[in-house]
């Protein structure tokens, strides 16, 4: 009986074929898996950690895309929605405004859940959180084009869709944390709140730490100046 070959019959696998030949096949598969997580968060995030479907490379890619989109959004979204005071925009601070809360969340979440039977490891929390960001670039790229085609009257379309991408991310984070730590719904939400508290505590500690470092440096510097002055 003849074998029936249908070949690569969608565009994604076409790109994927090229991609797989160029890069690591596992990378492409794990990247594509983020799309599955979008629509099947519970199932997807379970497999992500328990079946090792996610990779750091893909997580980094998604994070990079998110940051990248957030930056080019400033320039290419219609001024009806985004107005940038370029004189005061510090691109590094702007990037940090995503990376820093993310790092705080990942560490805070891991630190709190690990004390209370959370099964997820630090790396898994990171991968899952990054995977949860997928809706952001996915929704914001077309929105960037849409924003340039609407007027004030139709601005609601943009704002609603834009808000939707954030809410979607939020839901994914929630689902992801529940799955990788194997928490029930209520416990999951409780520990999300705990994570937020942990973030605040860390910010507080960092503030104290850095202000004390500054004071310390200032002290030794003034000692040095006094010393040099008397020499």
């Amino acid at each position: 009986m003849a074998e029936i070959k249908t070949g690569n019959n969608n565009i994604l696998s076409g790109v994927g074929g090229w991609f797989k030949n160029t890069f690591n096949a596992k990378y492409w598969d794990s990247l594509k898996f983020s799309l599955y997580c979008l629509s099947h968060p519970l199932d997807g995030f379970w497999d992500l950690s328990h079946e090792k479907r996610g990779t750091y490379a893909a997580a980094n890619t998604i994070l990079f895309l998110t940051i990248f989109i957030r930056i080019i959004k400033l320039k290419y979204t219609s001024f009806l929605f985004v107005r940038v005071y370029w004189e005061e925009l510090n691109i590094f601070l702007y990037i940090a405004s995503i990376l820093f809360p993310l790092a705080l969340f990942v560490i805070g979440n891991w630190a709190t859940t690990t004390l209370f039977d959370g099964k997820g490891r630090l790396g898994q929390v990171y991968i899952a959180t990054c995977y949860s960001l997928t809706p952001y670039p996915l929704v914001q790229i077309p929105l960037m084009f849409l924003s340039n085609a609407v007027t004030n009257d139709e601005a609601e379309f943009y704002t609603v869709l834009s808000a939707l991408s954030i809410v979607w991310c939020g839901i994914l984070v929630l689902a992801a944390m529940g799955q990788i730590h194997e928490f029930s719904g209520a416990k999951n939400i409780l520990f999300m709140v705990f994570s937020l508290f942990a973030m605040l505590v860390m910010i507080f500690l960092l503030l104290i730490f850095f202000s004390m470092i500054t004071q310390g440096i200032a002290y030794f510097y003034s000692l040095y100046r006094e010393f040099m002055f008397r020499m």
């Binding site: 005071y85 005061e88 004030n152």
Partner: protein, 548 residues
């Protein structure tokens, strides 16, 4: 209109989030502070609320002291200023007299008459601290004789006609003494008056002298914090608290349409900041505020209230006047500045300051205008400053007037002249844009609106531009739309076709048993195709389930 102030705050939010996140890096916020240091005489606020230097809109034509005006007795705390046609009236409050001043070809301004008494008055025939004056269309003069507790109405020959006293109204405290402070008179000789210690709004008298009520009380500032506090406060605390009462107006002006501009400086800075009180209002006959505030820059003068040179707090609007082109000018007693706003509430200019030089003030209390010239009365300096439009100012006013008259091309040209003199003048960009919009040059208009973030006008222009574009690119638009609809629909179809092709008789030699009839062979192939389809379906299903 959709308010987008949230986006506007972006510059701050971005910086604040990052600063809060990092915690150590101090964001250089001194850029704004440094803008104060070398500020020009005239300035405006741009879209970002940054101070932008600006060429002078008004120049000092002259500062007229008592001597310059030809007075033997020097003015003492003059407080009222009124202009009727080309005649200027100054209430020389400290000397209990009213000065009538006219233009003089040699001296500039000259006192032509001193009114210090009236004839046939039932009470005192002289004044006691007159604070304001108004002249009706019929030529009758209304004088706010404050310390005599009356508003006098006299004819042009100063013969007593009638007077307005404290109204009999149950809502007023019985021990209240009537101190009328400022008045305006409308075309039907109705009198509107601000009186000390009456905060229910303007007192309105009919032409026959009957009191017909209060109009246009200021809103009482109220916030949720106060509300919450009062819910839990004891009676003792409540008694000690300042009650939320409306504030009194400081001054009023009746514009050419009969609307009353009323301003007040007696506001709490935090209420002003929260937008719960207004520094200036435009009242209609019912006393409702109809001032248009379409700008993101609030209509309360200076935006930055930092303490500098001994002055702090928000601008204190002590008087207001309005031109016939609906540009109104507010006088800030605190920092001695004049703020001009157009009919949309957008800032046209701000200039002045405290000091002794010409064009600076010590305590300006009243402002008036002749044509487009401005007059400011300084009560400490006892001087009258006369401002005239510069060429730059003339261009701005021309542009506004031409636009109102429907001469859009000319208005655009005038705005371009303004822009040539000051590239930071936001209204010029919007003005050019509006003129282009009227000339149906939508694309160019959009560019100008985008430069100054005018989203409403941009949307108007863009709507038209989009309509034009769709009409001229009808084919490609429809094509794209159809394509967008077809692609998702056709993907499954395409897969089915591929299976169909792969399993069709034409491309594959039949491989049935030898002893089959033709019909059986056909049946066999059909079954084969069926199975292939199912296999493919199962594969697709598996792919979906396995994610790979």
């Amino acid at each position: 209109m959709m308010k987008m102030s949230g986006f506007k705050k972006f510059k701050k939010i971005g910086a604040v989030i990052a600063a809060a996140a990092i915690g150590i890096l101090s964001v250089p916020m001194s850029a704004q502070a440094s803008a104060f240091d070398h500020r020009s005489y005239t300035y405006i606020y741009d879209y970002w609320e940054d101070v932008q230097d600006c060429p002078n809109v008004y120049d000092v034509y002259g500062v007229f002291t008592s001597t310059d005006l030809g007075l033997d007795t020097k003015m003492v705390t003059p407080s009222g200023l009124y202009v009727n046609g080309e005649t200027i009236y100054i209430c020389d409050t400290g000397n209990n007299r009213i000065l009538v001043i006219e233009k003089d070809p040699e001296a500039g301004l000259r006192v032509v008459q001193i009114i210090d008494s009236i004839k046939y008055a039932p009470g005192p025939s002289t004044f006691n601290g007159p604070t304001d004056i108004a002249v009706s269309d019929e030529g009758n003069i209304f004088i706010c004789d404050k310390n005599n507790n009356r508003i006098l109405k006299v004819d042009s020959n100063l013969n007593y006609l009638m007077q307005f006293d404290l109204p009999v109204d149950s809502s007023l405290p019985s021990d209240l003494v009537f101190f009328p402070n400022k008045i305006v008179v409308d075309s039907a000789e109705r009198v509107y008056c601000i009186a000390d210690n009456i905060n229910k709004g303007l007192l309105k008298y009919e032409a026959d002298g009957t009191f017909s009520g209060f109009v246009g009380a200021t809103k009482a500032a109220y916030n949720w914090y106060d509300y919450l506090f009062k819910r839990f406060a004891t009676q003792e605390q409540l008694d000690r608290m300042q009650s939320d009462v409306p504030t009194e107006y400081d001054n009023i002006y009746m514009d050419y349409e009969g609307f009353i501009y009323a301003c007040t400086g007696k506001v709490e800075p935090e209420d002003l900041d929260a937008g719960t009180v207004d520094a200036v209002r435009r009242l209609n006959l019912l006393g409702n505020d109809i001032l248009v505030r379409n700008s993101d820059i609030p209509v309360y003068g200076d935006l930055y209230w930092g303490s500098a040179g001994g002055y702090s707090g928000p601008s204190y609007f002590s008087d207001v006047t309005a031109f016939d082109n609906d540009i109104f000018v507010c006088l800030d007693r605190n920092r001695g500045r004049l703020f001009g706003y157009d009919d949309q509430g957008r800032m046209v200019f701000a200039f002045g300051g405290n000091g002794n030089m010409d064009g600076y003030f010590r305590r300006p209390v009243a402002i008036e205008h002749i044509g487009y010239d401005l007059l400011v009365l300084d009560t400490t300096d006892c001087s009258l400053t006369y401002f005239v439009l510069t060429e730059f100012g003339q261009d701005i006013y021309n542009a506004v007037d031409q636009f109102d008259a429907g001469m859009y091309e000319e208005s655009g040209a005038s705005w371009r002249r303004v822009l040539a003199q000051d590239g930071n003048y936001d209204l010029a960009y919007i003005g050019i844009g509006r003129s282009l919009l009227r000339q149906e040059q939508y694309k160019e208009a959009m560019e100008y609106f985008e430069l100054k973030y005018d989203d409403d006008n941009y949307s108007k222009a863009f709507k038209e531009y989009r309509k034009e574009w769709v009409q001229s690119h009808l084919f490609i638009t429809v094509f794209i739309l159809v394509l967008l609809l077809m692609i998702p629909l056709s993907i499954d179809k395409y897969r089915d076709m591929q299976i169909e092709i792969a399993t069709s008789d034409v491309f594959r030699f039949p491989d049935p048993e030898d002893n089959m009839t033709r019909a059986e062979i056909k049946e066999y192939h059909k079954k084969q195709r069926q199975e292939a389809r199912e296999r493919e379906k199962a594969k697709r299903e598996a792919r979906r389930n396995n994610r790979f």
